[in-house]
Amino acid sequence: MYPTAFDYRAPASLDETLSVLKERGDEAKVMAGGQSLIPLLKLRFARPELVVDIGRLPHLNAIGRDDGHLVIGALARHVDIENSPEVAASALMLAEAAHWIADPLVRNRGTLVGSVCHADPAGDWGSVILAMHADLVARSASGERVIHAADFFKGPFETALKPDEVVTGVRIPVGKGRGGGAYLKLERKVGDFATVAVAVHLHLDGNKVEAAGIGLTAVGPNNIKATEAEHFLRGKEPTDEVIAEAARIASDAAEPKDDIRGSAAYKKDVVRVFVQRGLKAAVARAKEGRS
């Protein structure tokens, strides 16, 4: 299978990338590792006139800490996140999620930021950044802006990103108080998209939940933030009863459809069970100081 013909640019700098996108952003697709875009090009679901390959830009593959945040550069690959000591120490859920993405070969090329910008409703990273209240840093020729994860996903394969913008990295707040998270995914086999997956993260203040984040994968038009369940948990002691009720509320936020991976009712129930298990794991990790 061949993509339709396109022009190809591989800018040597971010400034050059931004000026190309200023000129031709409307007809362009930005490519990092290409693990989502190339299949779309081959199936001819995407027919851009220009592919802007940012895969060779310097300094964008870093994973580091900055002012209470874990910062994941636009070119940090799934495998880099999976193996990063920095991630393991400050946001274990990311390493856990990375391990479940696609297969080892795809993880050698695909990136977190590329996956998020692709905005597949079955994408794993969208739920992770929703649960962790992350910010995306978007650059264009006219400057930089920060987009909250909660404002980023607009529908299937649709985001708040403008045609002349490129995401340079994701900033994830970490290291404040006692936090813990978990990513749980049901997939039929390695490499398949999720039947259902959930990301949960919380901070404890004493015995009570200070803040919680819950993201849902593959159960709606985009990754869903289970806001009501997050609010329900705030200020409460995470007892088994409270966790069970939060999980029930979270499953109400899911809008799954029947498909070959399962019925809508089944998927909704998997959301409930996974949120329940995930919250219990997150509480245990927060108490152990395992992020």
Binding site: M1, Y2, T4, Q35, P39, K42, D53, D103, L105, R109
Partner: protein
């Protein structure tokens, strides 16, 4: 567009459209047909090659993305001295039936042993989890990679039959 890359240690170049996939550049332009096209949808791993030592699906890479990189295909595993430990492993442990997935399996195994010379069975199974064998010969593929690890550990790699012949047969 002009692309240049090191393929199995030699400098190779060509003139391709940006939409040409790496697997097609290798098979059609360079006539290296050991890299197979299986599903063509990034699912099966038959097209696996190593890019700078890491296994990647060449059906889901553009040739232009590989410009300036070092590529290893199955044709690059053997040396003038003979088969590589991974190839001997697959030969001696019957790690193939139809052979279609074998180039990808051997390249993934080769990359695994480079950074983990003595993997557990579990680690081998995870490493090959992106590569599908439709003969379902996974048991022997895992054994073959394990055997290759043992061969690499021993100072010189001597195929069993050669070793047997040298000592007067079995």
């Amino acid at each position: 567009m002009k692309v240049s890359m090191t393929v199995n240690g030699s400098e190779r170049s060509g003139d391709v459209e940006p939409r040409v996939l790496l697997v097609d550049f290798l098979r059609t332009n360079l006539r290296l047909t050991g890299t197979h096209i299986g599903c063509d949808t990034s699912s099966c791993g038959a097209c696996t090659v190593l890019i700078d030592g890491e296994p990647v699906k060449s059906c889901t890479q553009l040739a232009v993305q590989a410009d300036g990189r070092a590529i290893t295909t199955v044709e690059g595993l053997a040396t003038a001295a003979g088969l590589s430990p991974m190839q001997i492993g697959f030969h001696e442990e019957h790690g193939l039936q139809c052979g279609f997935c074998t180039p990808g399996m051997m390249l993934v195994g080769t990359a695994l042993l480079e950074h983990n010379p003595n993997p557990t069975e579990e680690e081998i199974r995870w490493a090959i989890s992106g590569n599908i064998c439709r003969c379902t010969g996974y048991m022997n593929i895992v054994k073959a990679i394990k055997h290759a690890a043992a061969l690499r550990e021993s100072s010189e790699v001597v195929p069993r039959e050669t070793a047997a012949a040298a000592t007067g047969g079995e």
